[in-house]
Symmetry: C2
Amino acid sequence: MPTAVEYARKEYPRFVEELKTLLRIPSVSTLPEHKGDVRRAAEALVAELKRIGMENVRLIEGAGHPLVYGDWLHADGKPTCLCYGHYDVQPPDPLDEWLSPPFEPTERDGNIYARGAVDDKGQMYMHVKALESLFAAHDGKLPLNIRVILEGEEEVGGESIAKFVREHPEQLKADFALVSDTEMFAPELPTVCVGLRGMIYTEIEARGAKTDLHSGIYGGAAPNPFVALAQIIAQLKDKDGQILIPGFYDRVQKPSPDELKAWRNLPFDEEYYRNTEVGSTQLTGEPGYSVIERTWARPTLDVHGMPGGFTGAGAKTVIPAKAVAKVSMRLVPDMEPQEAFAQYKSYVESLKPAGIELDVRLIHSGDPIVVGTDNAYIRAATVALKQVWNKETVFIRGGGSIPIVGDFERHLKIPTVLMGFGLPDDNLHAPNEKFHLANFYRGIESIITFFEEVGK
Amino acid sequence: MPTAVEYARKEYPRFVEELKTLLRIPSVSTLPEHKGDVRRAAEALVAELKRIGMENVRLIEGAGHPLVYGDWLHADGKPTCLCYGHYDVQPPDPLDEWLSPPFEPTERDGNIYARGAVDDKGQMYMHVKALESLFAAHDGKLPLNIRVILEGEEEVGGESIAKFVREHPEQLKADFALVSDTEMFAPELPTVCVGLRGMIYTEIEARGAKTDLHSGIYGGAAPNPFVALAQIIAQLKDKDGQILIPGFYDRVQKPSPDELKAWRNLPFDEEYYRNTEVGSTQLTGEPGYSVIERTWARPTLDVHGMPGGFTGAGAKTVIPAKAVAKVSMRLVPDMEPQEAFAQYKSYVESLKPAGIELDVRLIHSGDPIVVGTDNAYIRAATVALKQVWNKETVFIRGGGSIPIVGDFERHLKIPTVLMGFGLPDDNLHAPNEKFHLANFYRGIESIITFFEEVGK
């Protein structure tokens, strides 16, 4: 009988085809027109979990997109792992910048290109395929107990899973969680993520005149909502990127000297990062902090879009009645999303220009998290990663947000192992998102080995 | 035989139906998908000018939308009038704010609602119907010589007609021009417009990263084009509306004391204007200037839209690679568009935030104009208006721009009579554009009477 890793290696071509089938479903959770597709993805995962041997597999319905649940709890005396992933994806626009269609997975140069390839369908699917391989190699059994919970709202705030974790912690009882939705610090460098930023995603709606007006006839008398939003945004950050919201930095914790020292030892080439990853003439952000500190351990503020007015080609001389700015802030430990939003809202309202009415809305939020590294599961992860990658694990933080990790800690009282296999140039949330196939394969092997290590 | 006015009065129901047919053609000049519709409107006008008795009627083809030309030059010894109008219209969006569809003309409360109802199809059509009535009443003759020139690019900068006037002034030889594309200062108050603002319409494109980036992973290091544009826009005007572009006000001429005095005597209720016309909590603009001065005699700057990034419902955490701001400025005598654009461009470039590349583009421009009132045609206009409206004409300026008037003055060496019949609440460039039908009727009568007066 082959080992689980041997089984997986033999089946990789099929695993990739199955992943492609999943990637073809445009499960864009933020767009109402894709509601049916999101459900379709969930149903496909239900079928697959059943097929590989998971039990109690079902959809958990809530107000939004469904959760997918399944378990296998027959490894008496062994720890229970809660495998988390998400099957929803970001919108694919701008479409014209994709080299191959976002929902037609395409292999090029050892990568698979598609929206969701790495975030998170491909990474989530590694868990499923590791479990399949373990079932196959262990005569229909697993070396540890497993609960799988998959959500379809990660890209839109994750309300349903947060509610479920809060209200039914007993149904997700486990010893630790495994999340593969992060990246490796560099290719070939096994990485465990031990901290993530939180966020608040907001909209500022500015309203001036009661209807759109002709800028010739009314220019000089009617308030302009875009000018108002520009004035507000320009006062949210100074030119160096320092956020000007009063009290915003009060709870920010500095990373420990040990952590900072470890970060300085990471193989980071700022010029390569600027030129090849970001591709801008210059990097921005608060002076006095390294890129790593700025993106992992400092709060930031970004504007994502400003809908309203005339956005077509050519000219329309309108003073729009209203305009919106989509603004989000990333938060770091120990910032609190509700408090940060209150500080922001009150500051934005204090900047209200003459003639303008403002509506400052919170769209969604998530806590920043820091995960302890002193537990058996993190240690098992480093053992497994060493075995597969033949290198010592590095501990990093991430700039993105996976709010559910905070909920696992708060409501389930369990630590999370954030073991991800994305690469820094995977184009998350951008055109030409990809997943390196070698990482898909070695990710599966790492998870198999990790589960075997935990179950020893 | 009925007089021309009597003829018109009998035919008003038909005139309105004909106007509706013209309004149904969505001749939106700025949207490439409506190119065929713009041509269809031009062809309909060619057919109508031929039908009423105009001669040499034809399309004049250029790089963009065609011009419509026709003449009748058999009134020996009488002056020649160049009748100008435009048959293109603004885009109709936002569509959901229209009470009836923009291209399905609908009568309500004595008004006709449609995109282009007053700007400028309805007003341009008054000329055509005045000419038809005069032909009918004068046995197929007109009391003066007429050339008609209609354009389909007024809402997109008017390049084709400007080129034609510049290159073929002999083909438009006339003694004066008549333009009906302005409004009456108040209902029942016959108005001649003697000044208009010029404009420059621009785009600022800001580029940061080479592709859209995840704001969690890159927030704090990657430049954000929307934040950059906000910082720039916030420095274009101060909070009071004073434009901060160096040198921008240098050529601004104050209106004469007589003109200012006349403006103060106009029936203007600022509170009504704020509450009912604009509908904002407060009016904005430079302190120390009245609303009339601010909108007629001061340059202004507005932002019309900021395309780029994510503008859908919900959340997308993207740092867009680029964003655009559509910014226009209204200019007053003696400002020069090219010089103003150069000042603006150089100032905007001086504000370039770190990590951002800028492209500052001029989309189109037009000269500000002031028309002399001391000529026989203006005098004839006031006589005719007195006869129809039984009130003395008021002389106003307008805040909008009709650049072709400057070209008529420069290249044809003729004055223009700006006799318009729109009303201040006609929603130009906005949802629910309308034309008051009583003004359509009395506008036709005013133009008939004016032509008869000039031809005496």
